[in-house]
């Protein structure tokens, strides 16, 4: 295939490609907004919002929490130990 034709194909690909990418993600935006509304409805109807809602912050995972607790406890134990030891 001559390079010019290749480039033409490339331009076509770019047009189609960015078109689909934007369409896809734009539709996803609205799908997610619908989904969130649905989730809110379901969660409210079930009453127990707290039971189903996740942690306030986005990042944390349970494991981290547990480890954090462990470290806190141990730190406390060390401090206590040092305080009473000295």
């Amino acid at each position: 295939m001559p390079i010019t034709d290749l480039l033409l194909s490339g331009v076509n690909l770019m047009a189609i490609g960015m078109g689909i990418v934007f369409t896809f993600l734009l539709v996803l935006v609205f799908t997610m907004k619908g989904m969130s509304k649905l989730a809110l409805l379901v969660t409210q109807r079930q009453g127990g919002v707290e039971a189903l809602s996740s942690q306030p912050s986005v990042g944390g995972r349970e494991q981290v929490g547990i480890r954090g607790d462990l470290i806190a406890v141990i730190t406390a134990a060390i401090n206590r130990y040092r305080m009473t030891h000295s």
């Binding site: 490339g10 331009v11 689909i20 734009l26 996803l28 997610m32 996740s54 986005v58």
Partner: protein, 379 residues
């Protein structure tokens, strides 16, 4: 009787059989390991890739050949596309899409940043004007996906469209992902004003567990409806994410996030490294790929920022355009870079969480782009 002469002995040494290209590629392998260990460039991938490059270039040993361990791993894991898909499952299990769910509009930033992919595709084709380059449309597509800034997507697409270029493409993808903290900030400062960079975004809303469980289904549904060719990638990503979020398969979620992804990462890296053989890598095309990769990252960052600026205008200044740069993927490096550049301007402006939205949107965006290229070029 075993021959005793010094000649056959000498003939079985590496010294007698080493070609300069192999020596050079071992040097490239050492360089990758150096960058990984000393400069902390994506070490989880570049250490195995670098070592794989060394092993595959050892003369006589045939470690990367059809009877060697790296050859077996490549055939089973990469040629089939299984390893990058398992990595995608692990990425899904490791990724919290909460920031994206809280701000769905940031998906558009992830869309805009994919422009880098398609511009690079044109660039790769244009390189054919230079003598020595002869990229097909499939080659150009595989190269272009470097602009997606997503390692497993790049390996998956290259293994399907252009296996000969896979080594160079994977190395370029992971190298530039590691270089994000160097490539992006100047572009970010150039394209945004200080007022824009100063924007403090409001705190993210709570995201319920139900939303997080429904999210993978929403993404997969659109993929099924519009773009089934992206379904292997999107399917495994959303499967991993469902394991993570559904809360009833802790054992499987843990296995995806640890055992499976760790084991596959070692083997994927070694197998990619085995494609860094002298005859495949030491070509003018590799130079072109490396140049195009850098180009792709710059364009992707720029278009992400421009979309950020548009959203800044449209929302009346509620969106900090810097987070557009995170749309290239390179999770979580790009989001951290956004946070850092944001803090430079305003010491109290933490953008990390807000940048995670476009950051993971970029992963979806490049998987979509890969699906398009597979559907239109891979047929």
């Amino acid at each position: 009787m075993v021959e005793l002469g010094l000649e056959p002995l000498w003939q079985s040494t590496g010294l007698a059989n080493l070609e300069w290209g192999q020596a050079l590629m071992m040097g490239v392998g050492c360089l990758l390991i150096y960058l990984a260990v000393v400069k902390k460039f994506e070490p989880l991938l570049l250490v195995p890739i670098g070592f794989g490059a060394i092993l595959t270039n050892i003369p006589l040993a045939g470690i990367g050949g059809s009877e060697g361990i790296l050859g077996y791993i490549y055939t089973i894991g990469i040629e089939t596309g299984v390893f990058p898909l398992l990595i995608f499952m692990g990425v899904g299990a490791l990724t919290d899409f909460g920031a994206l769910i809280a701000m769905p509009w940031t998906l558009l930033l992830g869309a805009a940043a994919q422009f880098g992919i398609f511009v690079t595709l044109l660039g790769a084709l244009a390189l054919n004007y230079i003598p020595g380059f002869d990229f097909t449309l499939a080659d150009a597509s595989a190269i272009a996906i470097i602009g997606g800034a997503d390692g497993p997507t790049a390996i998956f697409l290259a293994s399907r469209l252009s296996p000969d270029l896979l080594g160079a493409i994977a190395v370029a993808a992971y190298s530039y992902m590691a270089l994000v903290p160097i490539i992006q900030p100047p572009i970010m400062r150039l394209l945004t004003t200080e007022t824009e960079r100063n924007v403090v975004m409001q705190q993210l809303r709570h995201v319920t567990k139900l939303e997080k469980i429904l999210f993978p289904f929403a993404v997969l549904l659109l993929c099924i409806v519009f773009l089934p060719s992206a379904a292997p990638l999107i399917g495994m990503l959303t499967f991993g994410n469902l394991l993570r979020e559904c809360g009833v398969v802790e054992r499987l979620s843990h296995a995806s996030q640890n055992e499976i992804i760790n084991i596959v990462t070692i083997f994927l890296g070694l197998a990619v490294g085995s494609k860094l053989s002298a005859d495949k890598f030491l070509t003018i095309e590799t130079l072109g790929i490396l140049a195009l990769g850098a180009f792709a990252f710059c364009i992707g960052t720029a278009t992400g920022l421009i979309m950020g600026k548009i959203m800044y205008r449209v929302t009346g200044g509620k969106i900090n355009p810097l987070i557009g740069a995170a749309g290239v993927s390179a999770v979580p490096m790009a989001a951290r870079v956004v946070n850092k550049v944001g803090l430079e301007t305003n010491h109290h402006n933490f953008l990390l969480m807000h940048a995670m939205g476009p950051n993971v949107a970029g992963v979806i965006g490049s998987a979509v782009a890969a699906g398009i290229l597979l559907a239109l070029v891979g047929g």
